[in-house]
Subunit: 507 residues, 2 copies
């Protein structure tokens, strides 16, 4: 049923391939002006050849445990290897194809089963198909006119995501990343509290106050700076050992803000903090928000939560759900068209009011952007491929792997957990033999803080795996292992522990 | 040199294809827990089959003048055809492949030579290759650690773009769209004028004032609302008939703002307005900004300009340069690290200060985003393919086509230009025979305003072409034809005029 015949019908590939390689270099632009500047057949041939390179280098080799995760080069050397300079004249097709190979070769293989470095990892081929199709179709998500399929699809996907949160109705939009989704929440919360802000600006408002935990994502600070609220008006609520917000302290911080003359309007809670994977206690927070009349936003990094009492939720399928960057949604409980009222600018050249179809389908004015990339297709196609059940199974597997890793870690000398993981984040110190039993030495913390950076440098230079580290609160540098990719097996967990030992045992 | 051998080495495609089609439906997740959840070979096979569909449906048929630009369906019918619902269980591969076909079929073909509807159109195959490679590599642009190639590449591309503006040094960053780039400019301008805004918020500042022309992009209003400046603090400067800012009125509006107690800080000029393609007079505006100490931003929609006196420039290669959405850069003359000082949050989990390489390469903290999509590769690869000379030729050709279209239009009865185009935007009314010579009838404007919507409806329903219309200022609905794609030929211009006549002659 699926053979090369289809593709041959449209592009006699082998024949062209011969012509192409035999053709002498032709300066760009010697065509006649009354003919198109672009040779579609040649372009499609290049794309097809490049597709094979991508398949081989990025998706086959790049996911093979026998290949390196990264091919480290010093910046100066890499710049020379890549020959980045943009010049007056174009290059030949075989040179360009080599550039595709080079970019692939020296890029980090985030699809590799030993890439544990960020909150994304691994590849889903149906999502990737959706991304290729999105790129080829190249449209913008603003009107039904130019994006009929994607306007309806975004609506359906958002509705499904809301149902997971527990809302039968509501609103929402896909944003270019989680920070942008969090910024939407901040703007909506401010607008609900002070609708005049849109017209008059923050200048006409009192000093505002936002509340979030000490371990929430730094995007809250970025949002406060960017949106004119000010970073000192973000009140950082204390957390417990696990990194969860202490609600008594939230109440106290609210009173503190009021005593300074600031007006509280938003609590930014986190379900799955960036480092420890901690979950703020949502029910007590919702009680406080209810009592105080505050907007409750929940930043769901990894998986969406049943948080029916929140006003808004950020969910990032580009993390644990493997859709690929970028895929983030802001979900709203609101049914009063707040999103559009807050953001609309009513541009007549785009949102004409005399169209022949239902103009409520032109959803672009809900966005702060004009042109907006289609981010729903990759998630939709993946969901169609594996079903809700398949997505759930991925999360279950990540939990199973995490439990396995934690058990093994507790049995190995030299691995010291930072508390028991609440989620898929396993935070730990590796104590090299030379430091074991020296916990009371005055330079212990200082020496321990230098262990993770050296192990990290070694793994990157050898290309065997990648995992992140950081200091946090009073704790010196520790590793943050994230078990997120469904490609993983128990063998990968064992490899991880062995490799940390191998790289760090002589420190 | 390039045969199917390479791809076979990695994936025995035909053999798998047979297995795949013969295999009975298998519920997702019956694999053992100690094996990866993902079958790479099956995934790669699907991706390869989908690639062929994309090639055939989107890139061959989708660029063929004998095929439709769009396949109009009423929203209810389309929703049914697409079967959008997300369910509990996954589907079989052949069903999913049909979904890829369906999404392609009912999507608008923005690569089609008769798509004139937006400020983007057409496909560049090298840029598209860059986009596929970006998607497959799936990394985030924040650190050299996870994006070594793209950190260096973004720097090189930005440097090249700055050189086109006329700056030997400076700064910049790729943003998810032109609106976001404009927002960066507004935030930087505010921060330079009042650095305390980052910490204290707009609350501690006086009322601010922004100046932009009546025909600038609506993103200025969106930015003012989103960033806490307020839309009423955007002073709209009058334009002349062509849509260019009147600088005398700019001076007057600045005095008006001051008289109201507002503090001017930013002039947002436009090179190539959205509808008319008008160019604000940059030198006189720069004089005023110099005298008043205001930040001068230039929003370059289509092509970058030599605007050495500006403080910042937005340039959107995803428009006239055909890179595909999203590709927008904010360019800065600043050499004092303003971008980072304004936006940094110093997250220790990402921007560790004890790395083994030059940490100034971790450019992510310049961004308001955390995870940031790689947007430089598509532009870089296209530039390598055609050279600066090839990019210039595209612009030259667009101008040549515009001149040709305007000449033909002036000779045809019923086509009435809205002034002489300054750029590639050809704005005009089509006067159907029934309205010709009736300019003095009391209902002329009203009847004329209804012409464009009907012609638009007809062209969409027949799928022959797509072009935008809008009212503007005191003018009733007129068409905006954008000659942007290098695929076009003079024949396409003739077709355009014939088709408007065919669709509108009986109105």
């Amino acid at each position: 049923m699926y053979t090369f015949y289809n593709v041959f019908k449209c592009l006699p590939l082998i024949e062209l391939s011969i012509k192409w390689n035999a053709r002498p270099s032709q300066p760009y632009g010697q065509q006649h002006l009354n003919e198109p500047l672009l040779d579609h057949r040649e372009g499609q041939l290049f794309l097809t050849e490049a597709f094979k390179v991508i398949l081989e280098e990025v998706l086959c080799k790049g996911t093979d445990v026998n290949e390196k995760v990264c091919e480290w080069r010093e910046p100066e050397e890499l710049a020379t290897l890549l020959d980045l300079e943009l010049r007056e004249y174009g290059e030949q097709q075989h040179q360009l194809l080599q550039r595709v190979r080079d970019v692939a070769k020296y890029s980090v293989k985030t699809n590799h089963p030993r890439f544990f470095n960020q909150l994304f990892a691994g590849v889903d081929y149906h999502a990737l198909t959706g991304r290729f199709l999105t790129e080829a179709l190249n449209t913008s998500q603003y009107t039904y006119e130019v994006a009929p399929v994607f306007v309806l699809m975004e609506d359906e996907v958002l509705s499904k995501l809301r149902s997971l949160v527990g809302w039968a109705q509501g609103d929402g939009i896909f944003c270019p990343g989680g920070t942008m989704s969090n910024m939407y929440a901040m703007n909506l919360a401010r607008y609900r509290a002070f609708p005049e802000v849109k017209l008059k600006g923050q200048w006409a408002l009192p000093r505002l106050a936002v509340f979030t935990s000490q371990e929430s994502h730094y995007s809250v600070m970025k949002a406060a700076a960017f949106q004119g609220i000010g970073t000192e008006n973000v009140f950082k609520v204390n957390v417990d050992d696990r990194g969860c917000m202490i609600t008594d302290d939230l109440s106290e911080k609210i009173e503190l803000a009021k005593s300074q003359g600031a007006v509280p309007f938003l609590v930014h809670a986190t379900s799955g903090t960036t480092v420890q994977g901690a979950f703020d206690p949502l029910e007590p927070i919702a009680d406080i928000c209810d009592r105080q009349g505050l907007w409750m936003h929940v930043d769901c990094n990894y998986v969406t939560m049943f948080v029916i009492r929140a006003d808004s939720v950020t969910w990032n399928p580009h993390k644990m759900m493997l859709t690929g960057l970028q895929c983030s949604a802001i979900l709203l409980k609101d049914t009063t068209d707040l999103l559009k009222r807050c953001h609309s600018a009513d541009a007549t050249y785009l949102f004409q009011q005399d169209k022949f179809y239902d103009m409520s389908l032109d959803t672009g004015d809900k966005s702060i952007q004009c042109g907006r990339k289609v981010d729903c297709l990759k998630l939709w196609l993946m969901w169609k491929a594996v079903g809700s059940q398949g997505l759930e199974e991925r999360v279950d597997r990540a939990f199973a792997h995490t439990r396995y890793l934690v058990e093994k870690m507790m049995k190995r000398e030299g691995f010291q957990l930072i508390g028991k993981p609440e989620f898929v984040n396993v935070c730990f110190w590796f104590i090299p033999p030379s430091l074991r039993g020296k916990e009371n030495s005055p330079d212990y913390q200082d020496r321990l803080s230098k262990v993770a950076p050296v192990i990290k440098e070694r793994m990157i230079k050898q290309g065997t795996m990648m995992v992140g580290y950081q200091p946090l609160g009073g704790r010196v540098n520790f590793f943050r292992m994230i078990v997120i990719s469904p490609q993983l097996s128990y063998q990968d967990m064992t490899f991880f522990l062995d490799e940390i030992e191998r790289l760090g045992n002589n420190l």
